[in-house]
Amino acid sequence: MNLHEYQARGLLKAAGIPVPDAEVAERPEEAEIIAKRLRGPVVIKAQVHAGGRGKAGGVKIAQDPGEAREKARQILGMQIKGLTVGKVLVAPAAEIASESYVGIVIDRSSQRPVLMVSPAGGVDIEEVAAKTPEKIFRLPIDPRFGLLSHQAMGLAFKLYRDIDQVRQAATIMQRLYHAFLDAGASLAEINPLVTTPKGEVAALDAKIVVDDNELDRRPGIAALRDSSADDASETKAREAGLSFIKLTGNVGCCVNGAGLAMATMDLVKYYGGDPANFLDIGGSSNPQKVVVALGIIASDPNVKSILFNIFGGITRCDDVAKGIVAATRQLKLVRPLVIRLTGTNEQLAMDILQQNGFTAGTDMDEAVKQAVKLAQEAA
């Protein structure tokens, strides 16, 4: 789960990291009031779960409260990478002496959280990694011992020469690690970590991504979810316990298992088609899930054919067949359905489908070919 910048800043502040005061506005007038309170020039930043906000025009400077209102009006409602901006952060436009990067991310090779720092902050760290990898310093943190003082100091010396700034940065790194653990994060970054002309070190922008698996035991973090910032169909799927990602093609896919779902999408492409979505109905074979799944797929106007690909293991094919029958009754589908079922209770499923006027096959390649053909015919 992605947190908004303002939420991430809040968590860092709670962990004791210096973060300049800033507030969130949902209307231009609020932005004006906040700008008045903060005094001096402010920066207005779109709060959306997308990178590259600056380039998309989602970050603007305002010299006075009136301009803040005007700039907020321009940004609120804007579309960035398909997401509508519903909130802006109004923050003081701080004077900055230097910009660095500090981030912690779960690293798959070392199987540990890795602390990364770079004196080249304020830009996309992937860009730094690609162009000037020698400017990135990495340290896998041993979770048995935590981030030790001398380790944080060692990395802080890569950013600053002044011993006061080194100590401030080292403390910030240790607190960032605590915030990372406390949030159940898979990523926590400060970019840029700035020094002010007075020599203070502070976090100017923050990003936290939370491991979805942590949300059950962290109700406080789970409550930060802003469903309005996500695609509506994905929110609906998540609430039903489905794993769904909307794509741009026209062959709707409904599959059990993430690997098989990806392989099905790939096979659609292989046969010249274009998948409309990733959808994994999961291991259970609750017919109701099938109903919701089909409803989500059918609500996409791009979809021209719908493909079921079910390999029955724990999932029972007859349950899926029942779900298909129930869903078609409720939804009045106008798109053609191609059904492939094999495995546990395959024959039972075939019988149920036949009795209700559906045909189904057992071969994955054949089913995908047919779904692609139907979509092309309808387009």
């Binding site: 779960i106 798959r108 090779s109 979770p143 059950d216 690997g259 990806m262 790939d266 495995g343």
Partner: protein, 289 residues
């Protein structure tokens, strides 16, 4: 012969009285697996299906039954505890089926198990099956067939699909291992490949990867440097968009890294026959075995 699980497996089922645990314990017993014990705290002294003794702790189960392998079906919030406990009790293999284990839990579980030389398969995996010998996990027994192909995969149903293709054309399996779809897992491709390479009963290996991480690339390097047996590979997720988690927690393209194209390229460069479709597995294998 087989790898990881086989005739010597003496299995303890953690969470044997739960909904999933009891169902699959029944399936494993039915398959002929030596399920010697179950564990549910507070139900020590009872029996599962009137034959498998239940214990309060894994330590009790191990000391009473000599179990050497554990399979875990407990809910995600208890899974890390269950892995710690199994390792502490001295089993040499832990198979964690549970999906949804927090990654930060795994950063602590993995070094703990490593210090005790406990092998972990998973979490979030279908487990392993050596057809005709033992089934540990949830891979449906009826789709498997005894034989000489090793199968290793990050996926569940996609693996079943491919096992199914193999079995129905007479290509039986020595062992099928689902290593799990999470970013941090206990046993990776290389561990399985090297076990298959050393297993006299395995003649060829099918490796089923997906987007995310670099485990397949590392495995490809291992194949070209250290394997003599033929390997056939598949990568799921060629059409996956970057930055989105495709169901599995580990199936995500980060920036431009972990794409299917890069993995397929490294397979090809390592001499691994690359399947374009799941159904390619049979012809590619038949050419090589």
């Amino acid at each position: 012969m087989s790898v990881f699980v086989g005739r010597d497996t003496r299995l303890v089922v953690q969470g044997i009285t739960g909904r999933d645990g009891s169902f699959h314990a029944g399936q494993m017993l039915e398959y002929g697996t030596a399920v010697v014990a179950g564990v549910t705290p507070g139900k020590g002294g009872q029996k599962f299906e009137n034959k498998v003794p239940i214990f309060d702790t894994v330590a009790d189960a191990v000391s009473a039954t000599g179990a050497n392998t554990s399979v875990i079906y407990v809910p995600a919030r208890f899974a890390a505890d269950a892995m710690f406990e199994a390792s502490d009790a001295g089993v040499s293999l832990v198979v964690c089926i549970t999906e949804g284990v927090p990654v930060l839990d795994m950063t602590r579980v993995l070094p703990y198990l490593k210090e005790r030389s406990t092998r972990l398969i998973g979490p979030n995996c279908p487990g392993a099956i050596s057809p005709g010998c033992a089934k540990v996990g949830i891979i449906p027994g009826q789709i498997c067939r005894e034989g000489h192909i090793g199968v290793v995969s990050r996926s569940g149903t996609l693996t079943y699909e491919i096992i199914h293709q193999l079995s129905r054309t007479g290509l039986g399996q020595s062992t099928c291992v689902g290593i799990g779809g999470d970013p941090l897992i206990g046993t990776n491709f290389i561990d399985c490949l090297s076990a298959f390479e050393a297993d006299p009963d395995t003649q060829a290996v099918v490796m089923i990867g997906e987007i995310g991480g670099t485990d397949e690339q590392n495995a490809a390097q291992f194949v070209s440097q250290s394997m003599k047996k033929p390997v056939v590979g598949f990568i799921a997720g060629q059409t996956a968009p970057p930055g989105r988690r495709m169901g599995h927690a580990g199936a995500i393209i980060s920036g431009s890294s972990g794409t299917a194209a890069e993995k397929m390229q490294s397979f090809a460069a390592a001499g691994i026959a690359v399947m374009q479709r799941p159904s390619d597995v049979v012809p590619l294998l038949k050419d090589r075995v």
